[in-house]
């Protein structure tokens, strides 16, 4: 992959941010329960310092806005941003267009962790913290560490060995998860509910849980985006330029894994975001990571906010699984971008 050098231009970022702001605003104004847009805007403005407005929302409607709709929009944005950014990072690190955030066993590990917590975990209904996201997070991280350890033990520290060991680890963890599910069949329902992905029950608690990981991983990956461009020419060429490819890979994979694990922990397995968003950005704005990483982050947030808007309104007052929406709208959209952007080399 030859990467055209690109400076970080402000134009595309400003454009993407405007799209994100618009998507977020739309998602706050529209929902399964109709709240008057004017009243919502007045209610939001009322929280700004020095502004005093009365929105006319009932306490019940205010609770719907502040405790159900807003945290869901914020969490959708955070999860989308992290998955898209992690996807862009993985694709860069492995020089593989099919790499996604779940490639190295993060999804399988999280799935096993969640299943174990549901099947054998203590009754946490009286605990101040929920065990499930912690177990999913730990499982995702453990899965990737396992893949890394296996890849290194093979001797050759190339991207391909790492991917292959990721496949092996994922297959193994999935087998264990399936076994546990069959043994504890009464947990099937909860496990599948988790796997399908859920922003349904998102609250500020989940947002607070995710924010630290989002900040740290975004900072690390953004700081490494130039090195990802160097890495794109190949390990040997990169080392001749003075770059320790394996080390950069380790740091970026660690940060992307942290982001993926945090996203999966609060929202289950939401597919497609980590592949579609970076590729679309690449087709529109080129493949330099200097632009790709921040743009994927912003576009991923906008994409998942809009996908969730569809998930909660199209069949309202029923919900659609978010993973169905991301795949249903994501795949054709991706095909469209592929067609229109063919002229880009």
């Amino acid at each position: 992959m030859i990467v055209a050098p690109a400076r970080l231009r402000a134009g595309p970022l400003v454009g993407a941010s405007a799209v994100l702001a618009g998507a977020a605003m739309l998602a706050v104004l529209v929902g399964p329960v109709r709240l008057a847009p004017g009243a919502v805007l007045a209610e939001l403005a009322g929280r700004l310092p020095l502004v005093h407005t009365t929105s006319g929302l009932s306490p019940q409607e205010a609770a719907i806005l502040w405790q159900l709709r807003l945290p869901r929009v914020v969490l959708g944005g955070l999860v989308g941003a992290m998955l898209a950014m992690a996807g862009a990072a993985y694709q860069g690190v492995f020089r593989n267009p099919l790499a996604d955030p779940y490639l190295l066993g993060a999804a399988a590990g999280a799935g096993l962790g969640a299943t174990l917590a549901i099947a054998y975990g203590p009754d946490t209904s009286s605990w101040p913290v929920d065990l499930l996201p912690i177990a999913a997070f730990a499982g995702a991280v453990a899965g990737v560490i396992g893949a890394y350890a296996l890849g290194r033990s093979g001797g050759a520290r190339t991207a391909t060995t790492l991917i292959l060991s990721g496949v092996a680890v994922a297959a193994f963890l999935t087998a264990v998860q399936t076994y546990v599910q069959q043994r504890e069949s009464e947990t099937l329902r909860e496990v599948y509910g988790w796997i399908l992905g859920r922003l349904t029950t998102a609250g500020w608690h989940e947002v607070l849980l995710v924010v630290p990981y989002a900040l740290v991983s975004a900072a690390v990956i953004l700081l490494h985006r130039r090195l990802l461009d160097v890495l794109a020419v190949g390990d040997d060429e990169a080392s001749s330029l003075g770059l320790r490819a394996a080390r950069v890979r380790l740091v970026v994979v660690a940060a992307a894994t942290l982001a993926t694990a945090a996203a999966v922990a609060v929202s289950g397995l939401i597919g497609f975001v980590g592949i579609i968003v970076p590729h679309t950005v690449r087709l529109v704005a080129g493949s330099s990571h200097r632009l790709l990483v921040p743009l994927s982050l912003v576009a991923g947030a906008a994409f998942l906010i809009l996908a969730d808007l569809v998930a909660r309104t199209v069949a309202a007052p029923a919900e659609l699984p978010i993973g169905v929406v991301t795949a249903f709208f994501g795949a054709p959209f991706f095909a469209l971008v592929l067609r229109t952007a063919r002229r880009v080399p």
Partner: protein, 311 residues
């Protein structure tokens, strides 16, 4: 003296006879060919006609509901093994047979002369047929009448038709009584299947039971595709503000009135504020056997208590 002796003697005889009858129905399992049992019997089962030459004495139940029904009609003594989820009644011979992944060899190992099951995820029926083991399919009931029909069917298949008839009559009269006591104003309710707000509409079996008490289901509005089990959005539940919340995810997912009250935005709900969040037994709320009466009693008691405080 002699005149007054005759009625007394009759009374004693009647009591003894009644006592025997009761005894007989409770442990009727042990007595092959209890009242009205005449084999062979032919049963119009869900999977086709089933002919039983002799009264089954080694029944394997692969369905928790069928297990409850078998014990309810005094056929418990003829049950050799029940599947891993058949946790009621306690005396049922629970094994690790899985109804999700039925293992034909393991089932055959109990040398059954009748297998009762509700779902066939694979080749269970075909396999049993090959082994010459009679199999009776009793799928999930869609209405109370299905439940009654299945009880009658099990009664005939096991040689306890009279006990089955008696149980059905008792259930009908109990449910009739509970339905008669329903409040004038229909109460609204939300029946929760899991934490992700999956619910059951009034068309489902469980929904029809609430319907017996004249209650209105908030999930109906969300079921445009008619699946019967829509996933509700939290915004909608808060807006609908049901009078009652029933949790059928207490055992599976550890939900309680307290965890519901702690959910974001749910402290607004009338049911949360008035203590009208009812923790159900997941099993009772998901089976269609004799314990539907217990379920209705739980719901009815809560409805009555809400009425009593004048809401």
């Amino acid at each position: 003296m002699r005149r007054s002796l005759a009625p007394l003697l009759l009374l004693v005889l009647a009591l003894v006879a009644a006592g025997c009858g009761n005894d007989g129905s409770r442990s009727g399992a042990a007595a092959p060919g209890g009242q009205g049992a005449a084999f062979p019997v032919t049963i119009d089962a869900a999977g086709g006609k089933l002919v039983l030459a002799r009264q089954p004495q080694r029944i394997v139940s692969m369905s928790p509901t069928a297990t409850e029904m078998l014990f309810g009609i005094a056929a418990g003594g003829q049950v050799a093994a029940v599947d891993s989820n058949s946790n009621y009644p306690r005396e049922a011979p629970r094994t690790d047979l899985s109804a999700y992944e039925p293992n034909l060899e393991a089932i055959a190992g109990y040398k059954p002369d009748l297998v009762v099951y509700s779902d066939d995820p694979g080749e269970l029926a075909a396999g049993l047929h090959k082994l010459g083991i009679p199999a009776l399919r009793q799928p999930a009931a869609r209405t109370l009448d299905d439940t009654y029909a299945q009880l009658d069917q099990l009664g005939r298949a096991t040689g306890h038709p009279a006990e089955a008839t008696r149980l059905v009559a008792a259930m009908r009269s109990e449910i009739h009584k509970l339905a008669a006591a329903r409040p004038a104003r229909p109460l609204t309710y939300y029946h929760e299947l899991d934490k992700n707000l999956y619910s059951a509409t009034s068309k489902t079996f469980i929904g029809q039971l609430y319907g017996q008490l004249g209650m209105r289901n908030i999930a109906d509005a969300a079921d445009k595709d008619g699946s019967g089990y829509p996933q509700l959005s939290a915004e909608y539940v808060v807006k609908a503000d049901p009078d009652l919340i029933f949790l059928a995810d207490t055992k599976c997912c550890g939900q309680t009135a307290r965890t519901v009250a702690a959910r974001d935005g749910w402290d607004q709900l009338t049911a949360v504020r008035t203590g009208a969040v009812v923790a159900l037994d997941d099993d009772v709320a998901s089976r269609w056997g004799p314990r539907v009466v217990d379920f209705l009693k739980t719901v009815s008691a809560k409805v009555q208590s809400l009425e009593a405080v004048g809401r």
